[in-house]
């Protein structure tokens, strides 16, 4: 990085997260580096267990340590080191300039607190003078902003009186309550009905446009990626496999895993009966294969892949790939 390059909003470098278990140490995140620039939407894709959510959680240091062991070469938000931050400052960052949306709005809302109280809580936590009335009023305002009809009435209801889509809207209201610079959305549509998914994605896009916040969108849904993201980070086995602009990634992937992911999508324009899945299974994270973690499933794998772990190489044009032979990869 040269001096002239602006400091990214969020910079993660060499992030490692380990969980000791009875079957040995699980390396959930194994040297992940990525950055998020102001205002951009970065999608983090990968299958279950690829370390996407753990990466997101460690940004706000939400993992319980111990048992989790987190270390990173750099972890900065707006140039401030999140690793060295005292708890008080860290709490000010959480829910303030960094908002988080959770996967399952059924479990991420307290069932015995009204929706209004919970949104007001997010507001209150970041006020100097804790003014309950103002916070409640703001909660109603936020509910209206996220498209909950009759917000005054709805604020007094409990989560069980809300549908899934409405709950996720309330969660989004909490995340944007304090006008964040960064929104981390951890699979925000996974727990929702397909018809509601589109609406919630619309809303996230709208919230992003309105607040100008950069967004980290964690998902395993490539359709969502294509629709929303500016840039994509593909993760596999706790590592970054490839990063690229969204169009580059779909048009010309430079990592065999990305190729596999794209090929396994159902397509409208070809006439096939069967999907084309990636053969094999993701590796056991307490005992990952040596070399490239993808080599047991990779059609291009050869001796070097088994022996040597590929670095995340800069291919120019904002693209990086963790493959020994990126030029051989083709869709």
């Amino acid at each position: 990085m040269t001096v002239h390059e602006p400091e990214p909003l969020l910079r993660i470098e060499g992030l490692h997260v380990e969980f000791p278990t009875e079957d040995g140490v699980v390396h959930a995140v194994d040297g992940v580096s990525m950055e998020v620039n102001p205002g951009e939407i970065v999608a983090v894709v990968g299958e279950s267990g690829s370390g996407k959510s753990v990466t997101a959680m460690s940004v706000l240091r939400l993992l319980r340590e111990p048992p989790a062991r987190v270390r990173a070469d750099a972890l900065t938000f707006r140039g401030q080191d999140l690793r060295a931050m005292p708890p008080r400052r860290l709490r000010a960052v959480r829910g303030g300039p960094v908002g988080m949306i959770f996967q399952d709005p059924m479990t991420a809302l307290n069932p015995v607190m009204t929706i209004g109280d919970q949104i007001a809580e997010a507001v209150l936590l970041h006020q100097e003078r804790r003014d309950r009335r103002a916070a409640q009023a703001r909660a109603v305002e936020l509910l209206e902003l996220v498209g909950v009809p009759d917000p005054g009435q709805r604020a007094r209801q409990y989560p069980h009186e809300f549908s899934g889509g409405m709950r996720q809207r309330a969660m989004i209201a909490m995340a944007i309550a304090n006008d964040p610079d960064l929104i981390i959305a951890d699979e925000p549509t996974t727990a929702l009905d397909v018809t509601i998914q589109a609406q919630v994605l619309d809303l996230i896009q709208k919230a992003q446009a309105e607040t100008g916040a950069a967004t980290v969108l964690i998902t395993h849904d490539l359709g969502v990626v294509a629709e929303l993201a500016d840039r994509v980070v593909v993760m596999y086995a706790g590592r970054v496999m490839e990063t690229a602009g969204v169009e580059d990634l779909f048009v010309r992937p430079r990592h065999p895993y990305t190729v596999g992911l794209l090929a396994s999508l159902p397509r409208m324009d070809t006439d096939t009966d069967a999907l084309d899945p990636i053969p094999g299974n993701p590796p056991n994270m307490s005992n990952p294969p040596p070399g490239c973690p993808f080599h047991p499933r990779c059609p291009l794998a050869r001796e070097r892949c088994r022996a040597e772990r590929p670095a995340l190489l800069d291919l120019g044009g904002g693209r990086r790939s963790a493959c020994h032979f990126p030029e051989e990869v083709g869709p």
Partner: protein, 302 residues
């Protein structure tokens, strides 16, 4: 963005609720409690006792400590409804004034136990690790002592007085509450909404006061009620043994002290019958209320 059809039933329900009085968790609990007849009767009885204690001076008409040597050991009469004791003091007046002491000690001791228990249990559950181990072993130690024996020793060392007794009783009641709060905290700790609250910037203290204690309140209220019953019983025991409330201040326990001689038991039942019944009924009523509360807050257990 338009309203979702999926929301319509919820909307309708909500309106129905609004017209019938909203169904908050408290209302639901109250409704369940009212179904528990014995508990409701007990509440009535207890309110009566509390009223008697509060208005004792006006109700009784006698100074509870006024000695009247011309009327000693008199049987119940129109002048003295429950008779007089060996120094001519009015038993009815003493009974009402004793209610103040006994209820006061019971509530104070239980309150102390609940505050202690909530604090320590919450800390143990939230912080885990060595804090948890230390607090819970401490709870085990306290629970494994025979309460009465140790309180007798404590009262003996510190000298019998009302504050000593409150502290001694509270000290032995907190582990029950502490374990409950710890259990609730542990189960909540893994809930995603606590994580979401932390992600919104909440610290341990906030989580404790806004999420964990409210969630633990129903089981705490049950434990607290039962603690009150126990504390009232313990107070009577200690005072009966002469280690609690000191004469001339009346308490139900030290009134029973008079019944230590066989002649009194056989010949002057008014001296011990009334305080005995008062203790028994009050402890029973508080226990019934505890049962009713348990059914109200946790219908699965009944």
């Amino acid at each position: 963005m338009t309203d979702l059809p999926a929301d319509l039933p919820g909307e309708l329900e909500a309106r129905a609720d609004a017209s019938a009085g909203r169904s908050t968790p408290w209302r639901t609990g109250l409704r369940r409690f009212r179904r528990h007849t014995v508990a409701v009767v007990s509440v009535g009885y207890l309110l009566l006792v509390v009223a008697a204690a509060v208005f004792a001076p006006t109700l009784s008409g006698y100074d509870p400590n006024a000695v009247d040597l011309e009327h000693v050991r008199e049987a119940p009469s129109a002048a003295h409804w429950l008779g007089t004791d060996p120094t001519g003091r009015d038993v009815f007046s003493r009974l009402l004034h004793a209610a103040r002491v006994s209820l006061g000690v019971g509530l104070a001791a239980a309150g102390l136990a609940v505050v202690f228990g909530t604090l320590l249990g919450g800390l143990a559950g939230l912080l885990g690790r060595w804090v948890d181990s230390v607090v819970m072993r401490l709870a085990d130690v306290f629970l494994s002592f025979p309460t009465v024996v140790v309180t007798v020793v404590v009262a003996g060392i510190l000298g019998p007085s009302v504050p000593t007794m409150i502290i001694a009783i509270g000290l032995f009641q907190w582990p029950v509450c502490g374990r409950i709060v710890r259990g609730v905290t542990l189960s909540l700790r893994e809930q995603e909404y606590l994580l979401a609250a932390r992600a919104a910037g909440a610290g341990s203290f906030w989580l404790m006061t806004r999420h964990i204690v409210p969630a633990a309140l129903p089981p705490i209220s049950v434990a607290a009620t039962l603690a009150v019953a126990q504390a009232i019983g313990l107070e009577s025991t200690l005072s009966f043994l002469g280690l609690g409330v000191q004469p001339p201040t009346p308490s139900w326990g030290n009134m029973l002290t008079d019944a230590q001689s066989l002649t009194v038991i056989a010949g002057q039942p008014w001296l011990w019958l009334a305080p005995g019944i008062a203790v028994a009924l009050t402890v029973l009523a508080v226990n019934f209320i505890g049962d009713g509360l348990r059914d109200a807050v946790d219908p699965r257990q009944s």
